[in-house]
Symmetry: C2
Subunit: 121 residues, 2 copies
């Protein structure tokens, strides 16, 4: 275990790809991840877990079947488990995700947006 | 479960006391909490869990037995379980905490800083 602090701006400067979450910390059997997002993600759901989205820079939308929530820097939303959703961002946004380890980013969907797990930055 | 987004500034405007974490969201059996801190907290440890501190406004220190880590807005640290630590802030700082439900804020210590659990804002 490290006592090194994590600086979000410094971590975001180290990668550029979109929709590929990078782990920055373990919290018991959970992970704290940073991800750059832009354009449309795929509709999906996570049968096994809630998922927290926290906007650190920019803004994003999370589309649900009956509504769309817009999140701006300084805002967050927990997507309840089993809920179909589609994140998207018109401009690049910087997001923190908190969820258990080993969760596939595209949930129940296998897609070309499916990203490898356990990539650290 | 709610699809209402959480705006940190709006939530922080609703309380003023220090060292009394307020829950803003559940994430499975974890909680996301906001807390205003100022001055010294008590030395303590959590036998059962890691604890994530994320600085949203201002700066804080976390003192360990052999070092002190300074965290500024946009930085975070996970305190490993079982590790004695003492948070403090010279000026008021606004912090997000992620940890399992039902964790006593003062860990192994019963103190006048021990705060009630499950207080929402």
């Amino acid at each position: 275990m490290s006592f090194e602090k994590i600086n979000f701006k410094e971590k975001f400067s180290k990668f550029s790809e979109h929709w590929q979450p990078k782990v920055v910390a373990n919290l018991n059997d959970y992970e704290i991840k940073l991800v750059k997002i832009k354009d449309d993600f795929v509709w999906h759901l996570h049968e096994e877990t809630d998922e927290a989205f926290i906007v650190l820079e920019g803004q994003m939308h999370i589309e649900f079947e009956d509504r769309t929530v817009k999140l701006t820097k300084g805002e967050m939303l927990v997507v309840p488990k089993g809920t179909r959703h589609r994140p998207y961002a018109e401009q690049e946004a910087h997001i923190m995700i908190v969820e258990p380890k080993d969760i596939r980013n595209t949930g129940n969907i296998e897609d070309n947006l499916t990203a490898p797990n356990d990539e650290w930055v």
